[in-house]
Symmetry: C2
Subunit: 170 residues, 2 copies
Amino acid sequence: MTTDDETQIHRKAANREAPHREATNREATQYRWEGVDLLPYKEDERALFKAITRQVLFSDPKQSSELRYFEVAPGGFSTLERHEHTHSVLILRGRGHCLVDGTVRQLNTNDLISVPSMAWHQFRAAPNEPLGFLCMVNSTRDKPQLPTGEELATLQRDPAIAAFLRGDLP
Amino acid sequence: MTTDDETQIHRKAANREAPHREATNREATQYRWEGVDLLPYKEDERALFKAITRQVLFSDPKQSSELRYFEVAPGGFSTLERHEHTHSVLILRGRGHCLVDGTVRQLNTNDLISVPSMAWHQFRAAPNEPLGFLCMVNSTRDKPQLPTGEELATLQRDPAIAAFLRGDLP
């Protein structure tokens, strides 16, 4: 990928352009949708996530929510974070685990997960399988918060959560 | 199904109850989600649709959109209609065709379809396969409009649309 490509991807992401406002049929090949940019998960220099990509499937000013597809490669994970806005998640592909609001849950294809306001949450792919999921989110939303050292230590006091955060999972 | 069950289903649908506001993980078995009611597609006495069910996967007052799953049995179809609100559709299962805004399109699993404002649209399953799709829609939205005889005749002037509306498809 050239620097120009990267610049364009970042500009598109920053502008929240609606990729398709007209009637369209966009096909997928192996969970890559035509006409949909494959985006970095976040623009963040810190290594708070691993091996995860993002595709914005629907982002239209006439709709009040967006539908995104995230794919975590085997062994990868999303950022551990919380925010006021809620997430509605459907597992589209693969297996893994999530931590949501103090509970570690196993994830299989087609599972539905609700992430409530201000719940700490993280998604992890299985060691040998990707985890692909749809996430519906309000178009207007607050920024994620990261845990302080103290908040992280509190979470880690639960052995199941500590194992999840270490990636020590079946 | 007893009459009491039916009454309850209709009441729940009418109230637009949020089925799950807390953190949950709801599993699916053959595209039936646990804790999610299997609803009639519409409460309408007219035979404008055939062999289609609805599951409201996410409907939460903190989110401005809903995510529904519709499943059309082989040979079935949704209502031909239009409205101001837009639909964002992802084909989750099977094959079929849709008519959107004057164009008939073949549908395969994971295809994305945008239905613009006031576009006539209908979804049809293949003769020998179901068509299951996710539909993201604003929680607050206008009611669908049905075509007049004249509007239907105008659509049918296109041979491809006429064949689609007759269910005369591969």
